[in-house]
Symmetry: C2
Subunit: 287 residues, 2 copies
C-alpha cells in the first residue's frame, strides 16, 4: 500500500497508470468503519487501482461544529485500509490542501439549502469544493459514496452532471450495526445510554410501511408526525428535522403518501452534542 502526503508525490506515482488502469476513489474523513470498507470493497471489484483519501476538511465544518474534536486515528485507519487491500492512500494535511486562503467556491443551489443544509449553513459548499479538489487531484474514473449521506450523494451527482466532471459517481448502500444504527464515525461520541437510544432513528424509518398499511389515506404530514413521535420515545432525542421529500429530486411533498411514486424520509436527531442522520427511500412498484 502506497501512502502519499503530497499532491505531487501522488501525481507522480499515478501518472504511470493513467489511461492504462481504471482508478476507483473512496474519499473519507478517516475514523473508518465497516461502511467505508464496503466502499473500498466495491471499488476493488470494479477497478484495477483503488485510492482512498483521509482528510478532515475544515471547509465543511461550521464555527460551532466538531472539527477540532472530530475523531482522528491515522494508524488504525491505515491498517484497516491495508487489510482490505487499498493500493493507494492520499492523506494530505490542511496546508497541503489549502496552502492559501480559498477564494473559489463550488455551490449547488436547490439541494444545499434543505435538510442538513438548513442546520449547517455553508456545509455543502464546503463538501462540494473539497470533493472537486480531490477529483482533480486523484483523477479517478469512479468515486464511491455512502447513501447514509444521501443529500451529499445527490449534491455531488448534480455537481458532476452540471460541470461535466469526468468521474462516475457510485452510490453505495448504508451499512448498519446489528441493532440497525447506521454506521457513522460520529457514533463514538455517544454515551452507552445514547448509543442504545440511537437505534430509534432506524426503528422509526422501519415503521413507514406499517403506518402506510394501517392507513391508505396517510398524508405526508401525518407520516412526518408519526416518525417524530416514534423518535421522541427516546428520552434524550432532540429532533433537528424529520422530512418527507420526493426522490430523486428532493422537492417538498404534500397530500397522500401513496400518491408519491418515490419518496425520501430523512431524519437528523441530536443526542447530547452528537448529531446523527439517517434516511430511507421508498419506491412503489405499481402493478
Amino acid at each position: 500500500m502506497h501512502i502519499y502526503r503530497t499532491i505531487s508525490e501522488y501525481k507522480s506515482y499515478i501518472s504511470q497508470y493513467r489511461g492504462r488502469s481504471t482508478i476507483g476513489f473512496v474519499p473519507t474523513m478517516g475514523s473508518l468503519h465497516e461502511g467505508h470498507l464496503s466502499l473500498v470493497t466495491q471499488s476493488k471489484q470494479a477497478n484495477e487501482i483503488t485510492v482512498a483519501s483521509i482528510f478532515v476538511n475544515p471547509l465543511q465544518f461550521g464555527p460551532n461544529e466538531d472539527y477540532e474534536r472530530y475523531p482522528r486515528d491515522e494508524e488504525r485507519d491505515l491498517s484497516m485500509l491495508q487489510r482490505v487491500g487499498v493500493e493507494v492512500v492520499f492523506i494530505p494535511n490542511v496546508g497541503e490542501m489549502y496552502p492559501r486562503p480559498m477564494q473559489t467556491r463550488v455551490s449547488i443551489v436547490g439541494i444545499s439549502e434543505i435538510l442538513c443544509g438548513r442546520s449547517r449553513p455553508g456545509h455543502f459548499a464546503g463538501v462540494a469544493t473539497v470533493v472537486m479538489k480531490l477529483f482533480h487531484i486523484i483523477e479517478p474514473d469512479f468515486a464511491y459514496f455512502g447513501k447514509k449521506d444521501l443529500q451529499q450523494v445527490a449534491l455531488i451527482e448534480r455537481m458532476v452532471s452540471d460541470l461535466n466532471v469526468p468521474v462516475t459517481i457510485v452510490p453505495c448502500d448504508t451499512l448498519r450495526e446489528p441493532d440497525g444504527l447506521a454506521m457513522s464515525s460520529r457514533n463514538v461520541y455517544l454515551s452507552p445510554s445514547e448509543r442504545q437510544q440511537a437505534t430509534i432513528l432506524h426503528q422509526a424509518l422501519l415503521g413507514i410501511e406499517t403506518w402506510m398499511n394501517q392507513d391508505e389515506n396517510l398524508t405526508v404530514l401525518k407520516l412526518t408526525q408519526l416518525i417524530k413521535q416514534k423518535i421522541q420515545t427516546a428520552p434524550d432525542a432532540v429532533i433537528d428535522y424529520v422530512e418527507v421529500l420526493s426522490y430523486p429530486d428532493f422537492q417538498e411533498l404534500t397530500g397522500l403518501v401513496a400518491q408519491a411514486r418515490s419518496f425520501l424520509v430523512a431524519v437528523a436527531v441530536k443526542f447530547g452534542s452528537t448529531r446523527l442522520i439517517d434516511n430511507r427511500v421508498i419506491t412503489f412498484h405499481k402493478v
Copy 2:
C-alpha cells in the same frame, strides 16, 4: 480538421490520444480575429493536438447585455481555424452545454467583484462555470487565454490553483490593430467614427510612462485622473471605469505610483452601446 458538436463525439475521438499526446485548448466565443488565432499558434507550437471551442455562453451575459446580438459567423470561424491548422473544433449548441437548468456555480471571491465584475454582476461566475465545464469536457494539458481580458485570466488562474484543476493556464499577449486598438470581437459594433475614437484607450495607456517621467511624485489618484482626461478627449467616450490596482493581486493602490513594484491600469469605456476594455501592466525593474 475534426468538428464535433456533441460532448460524446468529442470524447470518443479524443480518448485514443489521451495520455499519448499533449492537448492544447483555446476556448472562444467565435467571431474570431487575429488575437484568437495567435492563441491557436501558441498552442500548436507546444502541443500535438490543439482543440478550439466556439460557444457563446449565455451564463456570462447579463439580462441587458449583448448575448442575442453577439456576432456569430460559424462558417467564417471554421475556415479561419482550418487555415491556422487547428486539429479539433468543439462547437456545441446551448442545449448540449446546458441540457437542464444549471444548479451548480463556481465563484471566485475577491476577483469577481471588482473592475468588470462591478458593471457586470454574475459575469465572472458565468465565465468560471463554463470554463470549468469546458476543461472537464476537453481535458486539455494547456489552455490559452488572451491578456486583453486580464481579470478573466487572473480569475481562471485562481480557480485552477484553488481547485487543483489539472490544466496549465498560458496567458497570451494582447494583439492590436495597426492603430493600437486591442483586437476584440465587439469592435465590429463600432461606427466608423467610434472606431476612430476607440484608439484613445490604448493612447491613454501609452501615456503612463510620460506622466510618470514628468512627475516623480505622481499619485495613483492623479494618474487615474490623467488617464480619464485623456480618454474624455474622444467626444463619444463614456468611461465605465479607470482603475490602477496592484498586480498580480488586484488590490487597491494609494499613494505614489512609483512606490508600487508592479501595477495594473485597467479601463472600460463605452462608445454608444459598445463597451470596450483594455489594460496595461507596468513593472519596475529597480536597479
